[in-house]
Symmetry: C2
Subunit: 321 residues, 2 copies
């Protein structure tokens, strides 16, 4: 096969991120060395809507079963490098306040020298997700993806604390930047989220998505502002990967529909919210793997009904103090 010849002509998504073995404990259970990492959650989430190319690195100890899982979801692993050494490992714990993971141990292993290598096919992907890797690496990927139709970045407090200028460079380069509440507040230097979003746009972002955990997500571009609630999950088990699953649903919807108008971006945010809600119902990406269009569509309907109300100007006019 000629590397310059796209392997698949459908609009594809490129993700650059981590593949890890996670050991996670929450009040609801625990797993040991289960599949994790931003690229894993993102890919499996997005794979429900569009083909995905994964750029990441694993060690020689990476279980074959996980590769088989990715491939069963149509995820292209031509960019998944196997490096000498052990796979990235993360061990964390969630207390009953589920908002934050307490990292107990991080072994970067092969991920410490990760350097994304893109071939012609990868560079031609019209949708690109830069997961929370070093912003210098994110910028390097962006320079190779000049033809991309839509680029989305994530980041983390670690990089905001160490390389705030580089994080801002990425924010200015991508079409949409994804941050969580704390990251948005830290980067913008604003406590109120609405003002933080405005400030990030003043700092050069074209559009931002601020993830608010159980409060949903806020989207702010130069032309539109949208809020999606979180889907009310009945049984949260493990918040790990919620943000990357959100990103996968969001970009998956845009790639899968091939649309990028304001209405489709709103739908994509809802799909993101839905995929995050599914991810956190299981440990590792187990629930993301087993979900289907019927469940996703049903959750979109629930979110639609959750926020619906009728405007009634006549009733307003008729109230008389």
């Amino acid at each position: 096969m000629n590397a310059a010849e796209p392997r698949d002509r459908r609009p594809a998504i490129l993700v650059v991120g981590s593949v890890a073995l996670d050991s996670v404990r929450t009040p609801f259970g625990e797993v040991d060395e289960a599949l994790g990492g931003s690229a894993s959650y993102f890919s499996i989430s997005a794979s429900h809507f569009a083909p995905v190319y994964m750029i990441a690195v694993v060690g020689e100890d990476f279980p074959a079963a996980h590769r088989i899982l990715f491939e069963s979801r149509g995820i292209d692993l031509s960019g998944l490098e196997t490096a000498p050494g052990r796979t990235f490992r993360w061990r964390g714990e969630y207390t009953v306040e589920l908002g934050h993971a307490h990292t107990l141990e991080t072994q970067l292993n092969v991920f410490s020298t990760f350097h994304p290598r893109l071939d012609e096919t990868h560079r031609a992907a019209p949708y690109v997700f830069l997961a929370n890797i070093d912003p210098d690496l994110q910028l390097e990927v962006l320079r190779q993806s000049r033809q991309a139709r839509l680029t989305l970045s994530d980041t983390m407090n670690y990089w905001i604390a160490r390389k705030p200028d580089r994080v801002l460079d990425v924010l200015r380069e991508v079409d949409i930047a994804l941050l969580n509440e704390e990251e948005a507040r830290a980067l913008a230097g604003e406590t109120q989220l609405i003002r933080a979003a405005d400030r990030l746009l003043e700092q050069g972002a074209r559009a931002v998505i601020i993830k608010k955990g159980e409060h949903g997500a806020l989207y702010q571009s130069r032309d539109d502002r949208f809020i999606t609630p979180a889907f009310p999950v009945a049984s949260l088990n493990d918040p790990t990967g919620a943000g990357d699953s959100f990103a996968g649903g969001f970009l998956g919807w845009l790639a899968g529909t091939g649309r990028s108008d304001a209405g489709s971006i709103r739908q994509a945010l809802v799909v993101g919210s839905v995929m995050a809600s599914i991810a956190i119902e299981g440990f590792s990406p187990t629930r993301l793997v087993e979900t289907d269009r019927a469940e996703i569509g049903e959750r979109m309907r629930v979110l639609h009904a959750l926020v619906h109300f009728d405007l009634d100007p006549a009733a307003l006019a008729a109230t008389r103090p």
Copy 2:
């Protein structure tokens, strides 16, 4: 005038709460001994939609200007007692994290022996709001308002810590209980808000509204669940009174329209969100006084647009991984 004869035959709201003189400092300014208290914010907010009867107590030092303000809004002060002594005073400060007031000083003064006294007209009010007073007093008022069409209660952590069983008694007696995030979590013993709301219903509540500050509000009854975002305010100045202004908009809408179907409750929650957003733009209830139907209607439209998206099952079916 015969006390047994209602002074006004339109559906009226009774509020039992505090009238205070607040000294507040926020990062955006400060006021000294300005009009405050739960009954003040609630009444002025609700007065845009329906007549309000206020049951509260002030001292002999209460400025006449504030009475004139209440009366100019059509608020009935026949239940506003003037007791020997000084008016309730509260002094608080908000740091840049605007979520919580730091109380610097509380002088209960005449409020320390407040005992609500209702006459026949007050008892006939079809809508009742029990602001965050002692739950034993709330229960006393409820026993006198047996004919009320809709009762709404508020509470505060102070009472949840000291009289949790009485707070739960109130919750079981009223039609809808209003709580903020921390209060809902504390009372339900659940961290996730959705589960906290469910738990409160299991504990006997008919319906709850959980106020989430800048994240809006969650409504949960036995038949419906609704989320309204907070209106994105351009210039927050003083968060004091947001919850009571929300309650005033909510109950004001239901009284003013005379409706209580699920759709009207959703609209009422949006009106609550709107009135809270207006209140926090000024110190004291100044902005609440000067707002009008046009501004309220415009903010309802903004909230409607903020959460709107089209369901598109065909697009979902057409995405092909």
